[in-house]
Amino acid sequence: METSKRLSPLLWGCGISVYAFLYIPLLIVVFFSFNDSKLNAQWVGFTLDWYRKLFGNTDMLVAARNSLIIAFLSAAGATLLGTMSGLAIHRFKLKVLPVMVFTPVAMPEILLGVSLLLFFIQFLHLTLGMTSIIIAHTTFCVGFVAIIVRARLQGMDESIFEAARDLGATPWETFKYVTLPLIRPAVIAGALMSFTLSIDDFVITFFMAGVGVSTLPLQIYSMIKVAVTPEVNAISTLLMMLTLSLMWIASKVAPETLKGHA
């Protein structure tokens, strides 16, 4: 009995090495963002120059502004549509909607990217830009919001809604006074998750951006295609901080979203 409760040192050793594997590369990126050298090879001295350079880079600032606008709007759209989908899929036994909403989450991003590229250029004859990026981000975020909202609804006692209906509440009243207050943490968590997914997205944005518009991930991509420079480390560190704080907020609002499923 005693021995089965103790974890073997081998398991601990493996576990800690995997954690190290996950963290060391990122720590290296952060570490060299403060290094006073053009090369990410040797510690020379502490500096904030790379950050200063970043804030003087107009392209980077424009890209940051674009990223924020896109993330706000697509998170708003995805939260609205995703909450509706989550409610509809949970409440009514629908067959087509789950397929439509959950498939984009499961398939390789490049497929959604190229099919939307075809759609916007060949079918709608639109010029790519902010609008196409926002629509594309909304499309793949809807499913994530729906998953979170549905998970919340599944964990709840159906009799609450039945009670509201028996007391004569209309579907709208039931939603407004019973359902919405109960699912609010899931809706907020879904919104934050969409925001994070949008601001971090590279693949779909890559196909949707066209020539004129850039976002932070696109900027990072074009920088690392040219050369490894500590400026990339600095923007990476800042982006990490932003996502971390969003995750922290999510964990305060809806702790269950950070457990279990990916």
Partner: protein, 289 residues
């Protein structure tokens, strides 16, 4: 019981219609266009040639080439040149190897978290999720810094490492979710019956964790199969995968019908893998334990 049937019907319609319309327009329709596009002819300036008339394709009298309508030419090109079959095979190999390495790394960690005291588990899971807080490109870039001095940058080893690093959490989390549900009493029973540690693992824990392995494998295998950025950033000339083939067709050579065809082949591959995984996890449930 006079249920407000009309209002329920209206609620059903009001809630499901907007997302249904949106996803039809921006997911189903584009996918359909891509499917049709894979049977089309490239336009003069890239993109797709006009589709109509479909039934009486227009043939250019000068060079005898088809200029509109539908064709199976793209698929014929794909199956007539072993280059494409080779790229698909290689992508499957890279995805398979990445999945295997992820599984070998994720299993001990997931087991460790699942067998830790309850109050520590949330923190340990959070430590797995946190690296997600960094951008995907940042995580790839980190390996550029690390591998540079070892002369491993722009090789297939770098590609595999990058793939494993980016997708590892997708394997850890479903495995942990599964392992956490195992009743420890089963292991105690095994021990009482005289089973050694390894016997208990192979005959109790491992078979029970198969559904977790299958869902984790699908979550790693499928995105790796379509990945183009990691081979492009960390790989060399010979690191081209299906994703790169699609990207090149759409953005470099601008042969969109060909790109659509490769995308359709990738879709089929993904559907095949997903079907296999769900069949495996269903079949696993009927295994004698």
């Amino acid at each position: 019981m006079s249920k407000p049937k009309d209002s329920t019907r209206f609620a059903r319609w009001a809630v499901s219609m907007p997302p249904m319309l949106f996803m039809t327009l921006f997911f189903a329709l584009p996918s359909l266009i891509m499917a049709v596009g894979s049977f089309m002819i490239p336009g003069d300036t890239g993109g797709l040639a006009p589709l109509f008339p479909i039934l009486t394709p227009h043939i250019n009298p000068h060079d005898g080439l088809q200029e509109s309508g539908l064709t199976i030419e793209n698929y014929r090109t794909f199956f007539s040149d072993t280059v494409y079959a080779w790229i698909f095979l290689k992508s499957f190999f890279v995805a398979g190897l990445t999945t295997l390495i992820c599984l070998l790394m994720a299993y001990p960690l997931a087991l460790l978290i699942a067998r830790s005291p309850k109050h520590k588990r949330d923190l340990l899971v959070l430590l797995v999720i946190l690296p997600f807080a960094s951008n995907f490109l940042v995580r790839v870039y980190a390996w550029m810094i690390i591998l540079g001095p070892f002369n491993l940058l722009f090789t297939n080893v770098a590609v595999i490492l990058g793939m494993v690093y980016v997708h590892l959490p997708f394997m850890i989390l479903p495995l942990y979710t599964n392992l956490e549900k195992h009743d420890p009493i089963l292991l105690d029973a095994g021990q009482d019956l005289g089973a050694t540690k390894w016997q208990r693992f192979w005959h109790v824990t491992f078979p029970l964790s198969l559904p977790g392995i299958y869902s984790g494998s699908a979550l790693v295998f499928i995105p790796v199969l379509g990945m183009f950025a990691i081979p492009e950033i960390l790989g060399g000339k010979d690191s081209m995968l299906v994703g790169n083939l699609i990207k090149e067709a759409f953005l470099a050579t601008r042969d969109w019908p060909f790109g659509s065809m490769v995308s359709m082949m990738l879709t089929l591959a993904v559907l095949g893998v997903a079907a296999l995984m769900s069949w495996l996890s269903k079949a696993g449930r009927f295994q004698p334990r």
